[in-house]
Every structure is written in C-alpha cells, then in structure tokens.
C-alpha cells in the first residue's frame, strides 16, 4: 500500500479515537479562567491551524471540538477585548505569565536510551541528544526521533517543583495563583495569573525568565566572593539568605555535604580537595550548625568559581525562555488530547504533583488495536511497558497503539473482512 494511503488510514483511526474521547469526556474539558477573553486555536488532523476563535461559554467550545475533532487544542495565555479580530486589532489587555518546562530542554541520561538522530546528508545516525552539527560530515541537517520515559518526565517534574518553590519564596506567588498542567507529551506548563503579572510586557517577562534561569548572575553583586575571588566568609552567603544568594549557598552546601567523589571530580575538584571536603563533613556532622560553607579552607579562586558555576546551573530552572517572553502565546488546553502522543493534557494539583505519573494517569483509551510497527524503542503507556519493536504486527492496548500511530511509527492493520 502506498505511503499516502497508510497516512490516511492512520489519520482516520486517530481521528476516530479522538472523536470517541471527546464524545464521552466533553463534560471534563476545563476552560481557562475568563475564557470569553481568550483566543482559541485548533490544529485540525489535516494539519490546518484554525485560529482567532473565541467562545463565551464552555458549551460552544465543546461542540466546536466535537464537530471538528482537532488533533490539538490551544488557548491564548493573553486576554483580549476582541479575541476574534486579526492579531494587531485584538486589543491586548494582559496575559498570564507562563513557563514551559520540557524534557527536550533538559539533559537526561535516558535520552541515550530512547532518542535517536540521523543526518539527512550523510545518513549517519546516533543515540542520545541531537548534536548541533553532524559529527560525521559536519553539516547541520539533522532529523531527530525523540521519546519520553518515566525518568525524563520525572526530571521535568523536578524542574516544575523547583520553579514552584522559587515563584513562591522569591516572587511571593501563592499556590492558588499557579496552575500546573501536564502537556500530554514531554513536559509541563505553569501558569501564573495574579494581577501583578498580567499586564507585564515582554521586556519585564524576560527579566523574570532570566531570574528563573539565573541568567546574567553576577557573583560580586550578590556578594558571593571576597576580594581574592574566594567565597566570602564574613558577611558571606548563608543558606537562609533570600534570592539567588541563598539559593547558591544552599546548593553549595548540598554539594559539599552530599556529592559523591565522582560528582566532586566532575566539578573539577582535585583529589586533595575532595579529601578536605570529606574530612570536614565528618567534623561538622555532629555539630548543630551544619553549614559547610566557609569551613572549607585551601580552595582557590578557580575552584570556588567552578563550584559556584555548578551550583547556579543546578539551581537554574530549565524553562523555554521564548514561551515566557511571548505575550501572545497559544498554549494547550487541559483535558484535551495531544496529537503527538494521544495522551491527555491535564491539570495537576500542586499537592499531588510529586506522585503524579503521566504515563499512568494521562492515558485515556480502552480496548485493543492491531498495528504494524516499523520501529520503536521500549516505551511505557498506561503503566505498561512495551517494545522494543521492529517491523512487526502487534495487537496492543489502544492507548499504546494510538501513541505509536501519533508518533507515525506504526500504521493500522486492516483486518480481513471474512
């Protein structure tokens, strides 16, 4: 069968299943606050984007979704007087502050297991994170094949938890004003909707994005160094300090206390220094004031720089800065399906985030489907592990089959009529 035909069959089956989902789950669709002032956008299964729609009530939105069965549904983080007008006459009145945390932006070891890239020029392939240039021919025409697993979703979640803590302690944002949504793919979206942030422009949002990522941090201005470039002892950073000063202090303390030899070595510490750290650990373990900061002697300027750099990079929250600074951004609507995976985007209560497992809780389809799988690494959907597969027909639970169909790694097998 021609590729075009297979693609059509894949689309038809996915659309069928999505349609069934929306028919039976329409009452769960969760519109954003002030939905009547938002723009809605829909990616139709044929790849056409329908934008500039608006709905006064959830019923209108739901019937539109039911009628069109889009592969993805978005709404604007922004509020407009006239959401249906063309972009420059919508009359922007504000926008939620949004953060996009995606496993794509985080270095994880599991990428080595499940991600692959290939060079479109010389056909070289490799595992793990896609390099900027092909290591074989040096060109930059690379295609990537990315997957997600429990590990990288957990890492993304850790970033969200870090962000929630930072927004709360530094920016004073209450949990009531933060909404966390699983995206239905490799990450999470965090929305802040206090009046304080709504009218901020792109420039001010950039300052917040830089704060969250620790961009432009200056050790001297934060009083981290003494005149010799070593960590300041007197009036130096303390783990109880606010902002990046305290954050860096806490992380250094954690490194000095908990990092194993290998990690200390990866920071650039020499054997003698590692010995000092271990000795000091034992000494302060019993004392009340457990802070190791300032107790480490003999480290030079370079060493402290390396430690501080590591501390900053570990504390920096891995957000996609482009999303945060864009005041017209469209973002996925919770309780709708993600066309790249067939998983459900959904709101997660902050208190339940730690134990939230999207690979179990975001699957929606029941039943079984037979598909022909071209190639897939081991993956988990609905709490079950599947694969790896290569060139086989498989009868899989629908959630797993749809997942592979959405990723275009499989196509439906037509059952013989008789």
């Amino acid at each position: 069968m021609s590729e075009e035909n297979l693609e059509q069959r894949t689309r038809a089956l996915v659309r069928d299943k999505f349609s069934e989902y929306y028919r039976t789950n329409k009452s769960t669709i969760l519109p954003p606050p002030y939905m009547e002032r938002r723009e809605f956008g829909f990616l139709l299964t044929e790849g056409v984007m329908v934008r500039h729609k608006s709905f006064k009530q959830v019923e209108g939105l739901v019937s539109f979704i039911e009628a069109t069965v889009p592969s993805d549904v978005y709404h604007s983080a922004a509020y407009y007087l006239d959401p249906e007008a063309p972009m420059d006459s919508k009359c922007w009145t504000g926008s939620d502050l949004i953060f996009d945390i995606d496993a794509d932006h985080i270095d994880t070891e599991c990428k080595e297991r499940h991600d692959r890239w290939s060079c479109l020029e010389c056909k070289a392939t490799g595992h793990g994170k896609t390099p900027k240039t092909c290591p074989n021919c040096g060109r930059q025409k690379l295609s990537e094949d990315t997957w997600m697993c429990y590990d990288c979703l957990e890492r993304a979640k850790e970033e969200v938890l870090k962000l929630i803590d930072l927004l709360n302690s530094d920016f004073g944002v209450n949990h009531d004003h933060m909404r966390v949504n699983f995206s239905g793919h490799r990450g999470y979206h965090l929305h802040v909707d206090t009046e304080d942030v709504k009218s901020l422009g792109s420039e001010e949002r950039k300052a917040i994005a830089d704060y969250v990522t620790g961009t432009g941090l200056d050790g001297d201005l934060l009083g981290l160094y003494d005149l010799d470039g070593r960590i300041k002892i007197e009036d130096g950073p303390k783990i109880t300090d606010p902002s990046w000063r305290g954050r860096v202090a806490r992380r250094i303390d954690k490194i000095l206390f908990e990092a194993d030899v290998e990690e200390l070595r990866s920071i650039g510490l020499k054997s003698k220094m590692i010995e000092t750290v271990r000795k000091r650990r034992k000494e302060v373990e019993s004392s009340k004031d457990r802070s190791l900061l300032g107790l480490i002697e003999g480290f030079g300027e370079q060493t402290w720089k390396l430690i501080i750099q590591r501390a900053v990079s570990l504390e920096s929250v891995g957000i996609d800065t482009v999303v945060t600074t864009d005041i017209h951004r469209l973002i996925r609507l919770p309780r709708t399906l993600n066309g790249k995976t067939g998983l459900r985007a959904m709101k997660v209560q902050i208190g339940e985030l730690r134990k939230f497992n999207p690979l179990e809780q975001a699957t929606v389809f029941g039943g079984y489907e037979t598909v022909h799988i071209q190639e897939a690494p081991q993956f988990t959907v609905g709490g079950e592990q599947y694969g790896p597969f290569k060139d086989v027909d498989e009868n899989l639970p629908t959630a797993a089959a749809i997942f592979l169909l959405c990723k275009r790694k499989a196509y439906p097998v037509v059952k013989p009529i008789v």
């Binding site: 530094d170 830089d210 941090l217 200056d218 800065t321």
Partner: protein, 351 residues
C-alpha cells in the same frame, strides 16, 4: 502631609495637582496679570530643560507661581510637534526631581512613591545595612526596563516574597523613570487646536525645538559586509547556508539584522532559499513584515544582545561585543573600523 515647599519642589505629585486645581486658573487667564508670571516661569522651565538641564531648580519662594508652572509647561509641551523634544523635556525634568529626592528623608520618598504612584513600597522589618525600602517586583520591573547595568538586573537583586531590597538612591532613580513616563503620557498631543492665547508662545517653543534636532540616528545604507558582522549573526548565516534550521527568533534576528544593515528583501530571500525547510510564500511574508512592507508598516530591528543571550543565540562575546549592546551597533562600528583600515595606504610588499 506635604507642605507648599514640597509641592513646589515636587509639582508632579497628586497633592500638587490638587493644589493647582483649587487655584481655578483658566488657560485664557495665563496671558494676563498676575498669571502671566506662571506662563513665564513655564517657558523658563522648558528652556532650561531643553538647553541647560543642570539649571533646572525649583523656585520655592513663590509656590503660587512655581506649582502651576509645571502643569502649564506640560500643557505647552503637549502642543509641540517633535517627539524628541518632548522626550528631552521629560528626561530633564524627571532627572532634576530625582536629584532632589535623593537628598530627602526616606519618609518623603516613601510618601511620594505611595501616594502619587501607588507603589507597593515599605520599610524593611529589621532595618539593617543599606536597605531603606522593599518594593514590589512589579513596580521594580516596569521602572527598571531601560537600565542596562548588571546591578539592576533582577537576577542580581535580593527578592523575597515578591519584594525587592532597595536603597534610597535606587528608589529615587526608579521614581525618575516613573515621573518621566507620567510627563511623556501627559505631553501626548491633544486632538484639539492650541488655545489662541497661547499661540504666540507656542510658536516660540516650536522654534526652540528645531534649534537642536539632536543626534538622531541617520538611517544609513550599507552594502552588506559579512566579515564585519558579529559572531552570532555569522553563525546564523552559516547554519542556514549549510542547510541547517534556525529557531523562529533566530530567523527574526537574522532577517531584521540584514534588512537594517542595508540588504534588500530579495537579498534576504536569497539567503533563506538555502534553508532546508524553505517555504517561499511564508518566508516572503515574514521578510516583508519585518522590513515594514506589510501590516503595521514598522520596520523591526533585531533584539539586543541581552535578549539574544536569554534565548541562547549569543555565541560568546568578542572584544568589540563587550563595548556594544546591540548586534547592529557592532556592525556599524566594525564597518567604520574596517573602512578606516582600508583607507590607509598599504605598505609595499617586500620582495
């Protein structure tokens, strides 16, 4: 409560505005005695602000003239045509106010910030060291956006529970921005003809405005010289010409850079044709949009270095980068430098 001295010193405050309102002076009154003194003082304010900003100083001995002279000057400036002149005026006035504020007691600064501008500002619970105030991050961000020094960067501030630690001087500097915005807002051109009584003085002020049309950046056309471009832009060109992909913001930066450096839309289209995912219709639309040929007719400039850094497009600064804040200024400077070196006679090669 603010005294008359305070109102004369800080005529932008809401107390001063109420005072002026209570005087009940009409525009037509301004040309006759005794109110013509107000008009005179307003004109003096403008002259000083535009030409001798250091001499701007409140005349506290006569608050009945001094206080209304400020809104009068603003009304006059509103009828001035040149935006540049309005900005110069606003900058000079706000600077002179913030200079005075720096010498005030913290209480006074706090009161103005709160009452006139509605800032959420307070004293720290335990006053230690150099911290005078805690200011909500929103007011901080909206007033520090033009400040490029690292010390104003939010990342380098003490921020706790939504509030930022500030010294009195820093607070006065942020208030300066707020006052400047207020003046600029109030000097927006009204959609009415200027009152007859003021036409004479207005033509004088408009005359003043044209005396020095400041060093407006002249739009220069360059022939494109890749060697003089900053590394970040070169990297983008390399990426594209080797068939690589650029992020949306990367494309925007490159296109707006090339257009502003003097490339034609066709030149830019040619560059993009090498892109692996080239779509002629889409690219043409975007290029035309950025160059101002479509939509809002605005010609866009590339983001400044700081923004490129945020989005990971900066490839690490070289020596010249350290002295500029914008990729286009890099290019302009480098062009000048290389033109100079070309102009020097080449030494005869030794044979």
């Amino acid at each position: 409560m603010s005294s008359e001295r305070d109102k004369a010193r800080y005529p932008f405050t809401s107390e001063a505005a109420e005072f002026v309102k209570s005087l009940n002076i009409g525009v037509d009154d301004l040309t006759s005695e005794p109110y013509n003194l107000i008009l005179k003082r307003a004109e003096q304010r403008i002259r000083q602000a535009l030409f001798k900003p250091d001499e701007l100083s409140p005349q506290e001995q006569d608050p009945n003239i001094e206080i209304p002279s400020f809104p009068t000057a603003i009304m006059l400036m509103a009828f001035v045509d040149s935006e540049n002149t309005k900005r110069r005026y606003a900058v000079a006035e706000s600077k002179s106010f913030s200079k005075k504020l720096k010498d005030e007691e913290p209480e006074k600064v706090l009161e103005i910030a709160k009452r006139t501008f509605g800032w959420r500002i307070k004293h720290p619970d335990d006053k230690t060291g150099t911290v005078d105030f805690l200011l909500h991050f929103r007011e901080y961000l909206t007033n520090s956006r033009n400040m490029n020094e690292l010390k104003w960067k939010l990342t380098n501030r003490y921020l706790k529970s939504g509030y930022i630690q500030l010294t009195k001087d820093e607070t006065a500097r942020l208030l300066e921005e707020e006052i400047q915005k207020k003046i600029l807002e109030k000097t927006k051109h009204p959609k009415v003809e200027p009152p007859k009584a003021l036409q004479e003085i207005l033509s004088e002020i408009n005359g003043l405005a044209s005396v020095r049309s400041t060093s407006q950046d002249l739009v220069q056309t360059f022939s494109i010289e890749v060697a003089d471009m900053p590394q970040c832009i070169k990297r983008m060109l390399d990426t594209l010409s080797s068939g690589g992909r650029l992020s949306h913001i990367g494309r925007f930066t490159l296109t707006s850079f090339l257009i502003n450096a003097g490339a034609t839309e066709e030149d830019v289209m040619d560059f993009f044709k090498t892109a692996s995912d080239f779509d002629e219709g889409k690219t043409r639309y975007q290029v035309e949009h950025i160059s101002g040929g479509r939509g809002g007719k605005t010609r866009y400039t590339p983001p400044k270095c700081d923004t490129l850094r945020t989005h990971g497009l900066c490839v690490g600064p070289d020596e010249l980068c350290k002295r500029v804040k914008h990729p286009l200024s890099y290019y302009k400077r480098k062009r000048i430098l290389s033109k100079r070196s070309v102009a020097k006679p080449a030494q005869a090669p030794e044979i």
